[in-house]
C-alpha cells in the first residue's frame, strides 16, 4: 500500500512539473475551467437559495385566497361572500384583504399598499426598507401621497420594517383601512380578495372546491399553489440560466479537447523519453490522469468557493444584474449561506466528468506513442 502511494506521489510530482513547464497554456485552461464552474455554481446556489426562501416564507402565507373574477379578470370581491364561505364546513375564519398598488410618479416606483391584520393607527404607515431608501425617510417623517380624488394625503411613517425582511417587504406600505379607502376612493362593502383559514390542512382542497361551487365567479388560490408557483418560477429562471451555462460548458469542453488533443512536439518528446527510460503505457496513463485531475479538482474547488463568496457574501452582483428588469425598487437581500452535498455532486458531475471524458482519448493516444519514432524525429 505504501509502495503504491509513494508511486502515485512520484507520478503526481512529475505531472505537476510537466504542467508547470507549460504554464501559460495550463493556466489559461485553469482560468476558463474555474470560470465555467463558477458560473454553474452561482446559478445553482442562487436559484436554490431563492427557492428555499420562497418556500419557507410562503409557508406562513394565507392558506386560501379567494379572488373574484369578472370577465376573466381579477375584480373586487363583495365582503358579503365572506358570510357564505364561513358556513362551509371546516372553515375557520374568513377575512377581507385590502391591497393594491400605488404608483409614485415622482420616483417612477410602484408600492404595494396593503392593510395588515393589525394595522397602524389612521394617519400612520409602516413602510418597507426599499421605500425608506428611495424616499430617504426615517421613522417619524411625513410622506405625501396623491389620492385618487387628487387630494394630498400626508401620512406619518410610524416604523420601517427591518432590513432582514427585504425579500417580502421592500416595496410594502402598510396602513389603516380608513387611509386605504381614502387613498384609492375604495368602495365600501368590497375587498380586494378574501383570505380563508381552514382548520384541518387535509380539507383545504375540498373547501376550495366548495367555494367555487357556491360562488362560481370566484377563484381560490391555495397556499400550496403559491409555493408551487415560486418553485416553478425559479426552476424556469434557473433553467434558462443553465441553458446558457450549458453553452458555456460545451464551449469549454471543445476548448479542453483542443488543448488536450494538440500534443506539442515537446510533449511528445517528453513522453517518448519517459517511455525510453522504462515507463510503461500504464504509467503514462496515470501521469495523464494526474495532470487532468489536478487541473479539474483545482478548478472545481476554485469555482465553487468563488461562487459561494459571490452568491452569499457579495449578494450575487453578476446574476442579479441579469435578472433585474425595469423596476425602480429592488430588494436588497442576503441569501442564507447554505449549500448541500447534492448540489456539489451535480456540479461535479456536470463539470469534472465532461472534462475527464474530453481528455480521455487524447491521453490514450499520448500514452501509446511509439518512443522510437518520437526520439528519431
Amino acid at each position: 500500500m505504501t509502495g503504491w502511494c509513494e508511486r502515485q506521489r512520484n507520478i503526481l510530482d512529475v505531472a505537476l512539473a510537466s504542467l508547470r513547464r507549460r504554464r501559460g497554456k495550463n493556466l489559461s485552461l485553469l482560468v476558463v475551467y474555474s470560470l465555467t464552474v463558477f458560473l454553474g455554481a452561482s446559478v445553482m446556489f442562487y436559484s436554490a437559495g431563492l427557492k428555499r426562501e420562497a418556500r419557507l416564507l410562503l409557508s406562513a402565507a394565507p392558506e386560501l385566497v379567494v379572488q373574484r373574477l369578472s370577465a376573466g379578470r381579477h375584480d373586487l370581491i363583495p365582503v358579503a361572500y365572506a358570510e357564505g364561505i364561513r358556513t362551509i364546513r371546516g372553515v375557520g375564519t374568513v377575512a377581507p384583504r385590502l391591497w393594491g398598488y400605488y404608483y409614485d410618479a415622482v420616483y417612477g416606483a410602484n408600492y404595494t399598499v396593503q392593510v395588515p391584520t393589525l394595522p397602524p393607527p389612521a394617519g400612520e404607515i409602516v413602510i418597507g426598507p426599499g421605500i425608506a431608501r428611495l424616499r430617504k425617510v426615517a421613522a417619524g417623517d411625513l410622506l405625501p401621497f396623491l389620492s385618487y380624488r387628487r387630494e394630498d394625503l400626508l401620512l406619518q411613517v410610524r416604523e420601517i420594517l427591518p432590513a432582514e425582511s427585504e425579500l417580502v417587504s421592500t416595496d410594502l406600505l402598510l396602513l389603516a383601512e380608513a387611509d386605504f379607502r381614502a387613498l384609492f376612493s375604495f368602495p365600501s362593502g368590497v375587498a380586494t380578495d378574501l383570505t380563508v383559514t381552514v382548520r384541518n390542512p387535509q380539507e383545504v382542497a375540498t373547501v376550495a372546491r366548495k367555494i367555487v361551487e357556491r360562488f362560481p365567479d370566484t377563484r381560490p388560490i391555495l397556499r400550496e399553489e403559491m409555493q408551487a408557483t415560486y418553485a416553478a418560477v425559479f426552476d424556469w429562471r434557473g433553467g434558462l440560466l443553465l441553458v446558457l451555462f450549458g453553452v458555456v460548458l460545451l464551449a469549454f469542453i471543445i476548448f479542453a479537447w483542443d488543448k488536450a488533443a494538440g500534443l506539442s512536439a515537446e510533449e511528445r518528446r517528453e513522453i517518448g523519453i519517459l517511455k525510453g527510460i522504462g515507463w510503461e503505457t500504464g504509467d503514462i496513463l496515470t501521469l495523464k490522469f494526474w495532470e487532468g485531475t489536478s487541473i479539474s479538482l483545482t478548478a472545481f474547488l476554485l469555482g465553487t468557493l468563488l461562487a459561494y463568496v459571490h452568491v452569499f457574501l457579495l449578494q450575487a452582483p453578476l446574476l442579479a444584474a441579469t435578472l433585474k428588469g425595469w423596476a425602480v425598487l429592488y430588494p436588497d437581500f442576503r441569501l442564507v449561506s447554505r449549500i448541500d452535498a447534492f448540489q456539489l455532486t451535480v456540479l461535479f458531475v456536470l463539470t469534472v466528468i465532461p472534462y475527464t471524458v474530453a481528455t480521455l482519448v487524447p491521453s490514450w493516444r499520448a500514452a501509446t506513442i511509439d518512443p522510437d519514432s518520437v526520439m528519431r524525429d
Binding site: R9, N10, L12, D13, L16, A17, A54, L56, L57, L58, S59, A60, V65, G72, A95, N110, T112, Q114, P116, T117, L118, L161, E164, S165, L167, V168, S169, T170, D171, L174, D193, T195, A205, I221, E224, E225, M226, A228, T229, Y230, A232, V233, D235, W236, R237, S294, L297, L301, L302, L305, K324, G325, W326, A327, V328, P331, V336, S337, D340, L344
Partner: protein
C-alpha cells in the same frame, strides 16, 4: 529536504475540500439565529397576509405572480412579446395544483 510539489498540491486540495465540506456542514446543522429570523419573517408574512416575494416590482404579475391571472405575462395575445425584460424569466404556465 524541500517540500515536494505533490505534497503542496495534496495539502492545498485537501484544505479546499475540507473548506467545502465545512460549508456544507455549516448549512445543514441547526442554526438558532436562522430559526429566529424565519420565525420573525413568517410572523410578518402572516400578519400582513403576504402571498409573494417582493423581487420584481414593475408590474402586477411580476410583483404578485401567485395572485395574477394565468395569462398575465401574455395579456394581449398568447404570442405577445412581453413588455418587461423580467417577463423573460416568467414561466408561461402555472403548475397544476
Amino acid at each position: 529536504m524541500p517540500l515536494r510539489r505533490a505534497d503542496i498540491f495534496g495539502v492545498l486540495t485537501a484544505s479546499g475540500l475540507l473548506l467545502l465540506l465545512a460549508l456544507v456542514l455549516r448549512g445543514s446543522g441547526p442554526d438558532p439565529a436562522e430559526a429566529d429570523r424565519l420565525t420573525r419573517l413568517q410572523r410578518l408574512v402572516t400578519e400582513a397576509q403576504l402571498t409573494d416575494l417582493a423581487l420584481l416590482t414593475e408590474a402586477r404579475y411580476t410583483r404578485h405572480p401567485t395572485q395574477a391571472d394565468h395569462f398575465a405575462p401574455f395579456q394581449d395575445h398568447p404570442l405577445a412579446l412581453d413588455h418587461f425584460p423580467s417577463g423573460m424569466f416568467w414561466s408561461p404556465r402555472r403548475p397544476a395544483p
